[in-house]
């Protein structure tokens, strides 16, 4: 199988009963502030409160019975682990989730709540991969990588299918990029359904491997650095990069301050809870980050346009909101509510 609109539509049909068709919200206040029409695809209202439910469900339900019976495995400290655990439970097969021993309790509980087998490991990349290899060798489970798997990418692309079905004449889709699973699915779906659409990816400047790779026309792997957008700390996957090169129009980067400010603006104005990673596209709109390739004004040019924005998830620690940190540093941002 290769990733194309057919595989994404097949994924949509496959997972439809197991996921929400999430609403597309608008805000007259944000439209006025930006001189554009913004359409927010609310994957924070998705099952497990993140788009990851789509890809994991597709990857689990596409397996033949014999393979499925041996179970699935992944390493994830984030939403993919919960998504895979849930999908496996829905299919009635085992799931083995490798999690770092320092994972947040709330994330461990989420995975546990779906009855998955959790394998704890040291919080290093090597330990995660070793533990995952080990559990696969022991159980015969199928590895479902969180973004390098084409069935996962196809599943993630179903959010864009719904967005383009629900909103006509979009000029632009803006999507965050971490490993690239959502971005690949989104770009292939959007460009296939509407060839004239622009697809712009946004990345935290602190982890700008995708933007740098895109400029250099070769995949550059960088060391992990901190970003408040914890879903986007990873490098773009090897199978993801050529798809991004082919289908994505530009990748822009945003500051940590812009991410926090965008998150707070969306909370305060739209009254919905999104996680920091989900605020990254709107950060690019607020910050009017100079782009190096797209848009006559050197920014994401949204003036007068119809812009689709994927709000990727809503899993955030309500005890540690990013503006509390900024406050400590004396940089309390103004809400717009």
């Amino acid at each position: 199988m290769s990733l194309d609109l057919d595989s994404i539509r097949a994924a949509h049909k496959r997972i439809r009963a197991q996921i929400h068709r999430t609403p597309v919200l608008t805000s007259s206040r944000l439209d006025e502030a930006n001189g554009a029409s913004l359409f927010f695809k609310c994957e924070n209202f998705q099952k497990i409160s993140a788009f990851k439910a789509r890809g994991a469900t597709n990857a689990v339900f596409v397996l033949d019975d014999a393979t499925a019976r041996r179970g699935v495995a992944t390493h994830s400290s984030g939403n993919h682990g919960a998504a895979l655990a849930r999908a496996a439970k829905l299919r009635g097969i085992p799931a083995h989730i490798v999690m770092p021993s320092n994972s947040a309790k709330v994330k461990v509980r989420a995975v546990e709540s779906y009855g998955a087998h959790i394998v704890f490991c040291e919080p290093t990349e090597a330990a995660r991969e070793a533990a995952c290899t080990d559990v696969i060798a022991t159980t015969g489970a199928r590895l479902i990588h969180s973004f390098e798997n084409e069935d996962v990418m196809a599943g993630q692309g179903t959010a864009a299918v719904e967005l383009l079905e629900d909103v006509s004449d979009l000029d632009l889709v803006v999507c965050p990029v971490g490993g690239g699973g959502l971005l690949c699915g989104t770009a292939v779906a959007a460009k296939s359904m509407r060839p004239q659409i622009k697809v712009i990816a946004v990345e935290p400047a602190n982890v700008d491997d995708a933007a740098r790779s895109f400029r250099a026309a070769r995949r550059i792997v960088t060391k992990k650095k901190f970003t408040i957008a914890d879903g986007l700390r990873t490098n773009v996957g090897a199978p993801n990069f050529p798809i991004i090169q082919r289908y994505v129009d530009d990748i822009v980067t945003v500051s940590e301050e812009a991410i926090t400010s965008a998150m707070r603006t969306i909370w305060g104005t739209m009254k919905i809870i999104i996680e920091p990673s989900a605020a990254v596209p709107y950060a690019a709109i607020m910050e009017r980050q100079p782009s190096q390739g797209y848009g006559s004004a050197g920014k994401i040019d949204i003036a007068g346009k119809r812009v689709g924005i994927i709000l990727t998830g809503g899993n955030v620690d309500l005890d540690a909101l990013p503006w509390m940190r900024l406050e400590v540093r004396g940089q309390k941002p103004e809400g717009r509510s």
Copy 2:
């Protein structure tokens, strides 16, 4: 005019173009936790982020031209002030909003953003009323009280009309009570559209004048006390009480801890932002507060029922969330997300 379904339907027709028909959200997780079907009417997504937009708009647009031209006035440090300012702007008439000098800046800015004339006064009841009387004497403006006005009540009742239109066979509607504007509109609309429905009001135990009045069958006025549910600190209005006696089945009270916990549960589970006052109905469901009149188990009996819940608003200070205070006191609640 008296408050009845006709006046509420007339209000709905009058304001329809100026307000949102807000969505009704559900949560399979909360349904499972409670063994009931819960339908949340999301007035946090309303214009000015609160149901108050409905009543103020109706009260402004029902005025004849000669009266309207002289403007409208109210005293409010909360959502009604912003709602009246917005409604007046939409009609192109002056609005005079009396606000205590210690009002939150964000609330002052909201009123200012609609071009209203703000009259600051000392933060006492007497000073507010004197300032309001004064501005009315000077300008000839019409007083639009935030809950004692029947046009305001009729406007607030339009949320229940939409809820009952969108959700069939509701057994129960749960609604917070402060002054009683929303409760009167809700109860009259719900009972008129569906006579077998139960209407249960919920009030913070710290300001339990409505519950006490309901038991005593006479209006008891109590001193203002603190509650985190800042929209519900007021006593029930004199014209509101007989309507409540006639149409409401019971009034139950909830603790401050239950309000905070309910607010956090709805944030964490539904990924929407509601203000503390809006969490009060769900607090009664979570706390399973013994009721003194309704329900065989001495609680709000929702088991197996279809329950409509009005989420009244989403205006909350993102820098001062109630669980931060609890944390300081060493009572950090568990999230359910």
